[in-house]
Chain length 346, copies 2
DNA sequence: TATTAGCACTCAAGCACACAGAGTGCTAAC
DNA sequence: GTTAGCACTCTGTGTGCTTGAGTGCTAATA
């Protein structure tokens, strides 16, 4: 009985039509609709038989008896794999979307906005994950009688500072001494190697008793600044677009999604996951494939950009499963290209 | 005919009851409900007459014929003025809500989160508007062969840095020279005074031709950093809470609101407005009183915190007009107090 | 004169029911 | 293997009915 079913050419065509149609309309697709499209000359009855097979194979489902068919995650997956293999190229027509901006932070925020605006979905952009976490430069300076400022440069692109309040002004000699101490111990070491023991050693070197409180403040400030430099920032935009797609279910799901965007913790998992994948190109997660629980009803498309020194960041789009994949992929490609170009120039 | 109506004691009581009841239930309030509350011993018929008067006076409306009454903005305003005059004190029970955090940025973000979490409305917190915009400290240092870092301290709490790429390494003497130049011209002057002319003068001083490109980069970097330091940051939290209150109307209004939160431009207007008011205490905007167009269906409650040196910032709550004003006001007071205390200590 | 009881009226919400339309699965004919 | 035809299912919509909450007005009452 259980004759094995294979996805022959005709079934593939029908499946593609179903998905394409559903992407457009958002309504379950009936056999008659497919038949009337005319690309394959078959009666609705034949289509019905094929659709029945496709259902058995798990590519489509009926949301209820006597309604049309809707693609499952598996169906979307087939469609995406198929369509994406037909080489989507980046949409060059957008031209110079990104204005010239200096600060990395501003640039990435702008990328997020452009993505969200062009696609009308929600976008996410992460700052590059540092590969080179060496402390390149560290310097303490006196601002005025009660404040010092510490400047720390980590890797190739990140500078952080920290204002440090002290009880009494230090004289030049003392500042110099601290600077020598800090540079001796910290310059060139990796961020990961900075720990309490190291700090203890430095304190002993400095002649503990005398400066104990000042040292404490300085160390605290430096550890803080370093950790901050290491942190991955996440920029999002267009989260409110999610509300436009009510097939994302009830308001509760939408709320949960928006909360995920506000929390950001889920998003950073997503970014990690996207970076982890070996495939350096476009990455597509459909429904249950999503690494984030609250996004099991969405599709996520990500891409990776790369700084000249090798640090990588993620840019991505989050939207309904019924998403315009072609457009999203081409927009992402286009912006990734543009980012890569900008970074190479600089 | 047009006998003049005055808001006598009894009408006031009834109005208060209507508003209070509506705040709780969100349903139009009928005469019978008020009558049965028992605080004033009147039959529903009497209440009906009074309610009719209140409607004529513009404090309440009927959403449709033969439904109960709902407060208008004017009605809310009466209630708020009345209830707030009964001295709400800050909710001390919350105790040490704010963990000790060093960076101002983190502190304010945390305030926003606590506000949103405690009230279940949306919150907004702005960084203090600098009053003292003097450049306190400015220093250029060489990081490595192709990069400099500029550190600028503005006012009492803000330090910014900027990485600057240069074509060739500078020797110590050159760096020193630049530092002297920068400090001579910039230290102690107000941020507003930094303009192109000043930059031109400095360039001439430096011996234009030789360093033209380097100077250009440095100036650009510095102007950028200064402007950044001057910028007011806005932190928001709990924007998704807005969706919980569907009396905020259809999904379109909710979307518009969320977009306002993402855009932030509307929010900064709001913050400006809130700071402008002479009243240094709690400020309440109801419905149409809102300075932001998209929030005409909301109520906004703001408070002002102050740094020891006089810089002021805003913290506020945005929610439905049907808002728990007492709780919101007490939470805001509590957090404002706590902020003030933290700043005074430091 | 202010309050109240009573009554007629209005409207929204819930329920039952019928009906049209879309879509399916199956069978028999081509 | 394909198709026409038919019976069946289910949703959505429109209609009519009932109930309950609430109002405004009038006349009686304290």
């Amino acid at each position: 009985m259980a004759q094995e079913l294979i996805l022959d050419d005709r079934k593939q065509e029908i499946l593609k039509s179903i998905v394409a149609n559903y992407l457009e309309t958002g309504e379950p697709v009936g056999s008659r609709t497919i038949s009337k499209m005319g690309s394959l000359n078959l009666s609705s009855a034949t289509i019905r038989n094929e659709m029945s097979d496709l259902e058995e194979m798990g590519y489509v489902v009926q949301p209820r008896t006597s309604a049309g068919r809707v693609p499952t995650d598996k169906g979307y997956r087939f469609y995406v794999d198929q369509v994406m293999s037909e080489k989507v190229d980046s949409d060059k027509s957008q031209g110079a979307l990104l204005e010239r901006v200096d600060k990395l932070e501003n640039l990435l925020m702008q990328v997020a906005k452009v993505l969200a605006y062009n696609t009308q979905y929600a976008s996410i952009v992460t700052s590059p994950r540092l590969r080179n976490k060496q402390v390149k430069f560290i310097q303490l300076s006196q601002v005025d009688e009660e404040r010092l400022v510490a400047v720390i440069v980590v890797g190739d692109n990140v500078a952080k500072n920290q204002l440090i309040r002290v009880q009494r002004p230090l004289d030049n000699e003392e500042v110099l001494k601290f600077n020598i101490l800090l540079n001796t111990f910290l310059q060139g070491i990796s961020v990961d190697e900075i720990n309490i023991e190291l700090m203890q050693t430095m304190k002993r070197q400095a002649g503990e008793g005398e400066y104990a409180d000042i040292l404490e403040a300085i160390f605290e400030g430096i550890v803080d600044a370093v950790h901050q430099a290491e942190e991955t920032h996440i920029y999002t935009s267009g989260a409110s677009n999610i509300l436009k797609y009510n097939e994302l279910g009830d308001i509760n799901k939408a709320t949960a999604l928006l909360e995920t965007f506000e929390e950001q913790t889920g998003l950073s998992e997503l970014a990690d996951e996207a970076l982890k994948s070996d495939d350096k190109n476009i990455q597509i997660y459909i429904g249950d494939e999503s690494p984030v629980q609250n996004m099991k009803d969405c599709s996520i498309v990500t891409s990776t950009y790369e700084l000249p020194e090798g640090a990588k960041g993620t840019i991505g789009i989050i939207g309904p499963k019924r998403m315009d994949y072609k457009k999203v992929v081409s927009t992402l490609k286009s912006l990734t290209d543009e980012l890569d170009t900008i970074f190479r120039k600089e």
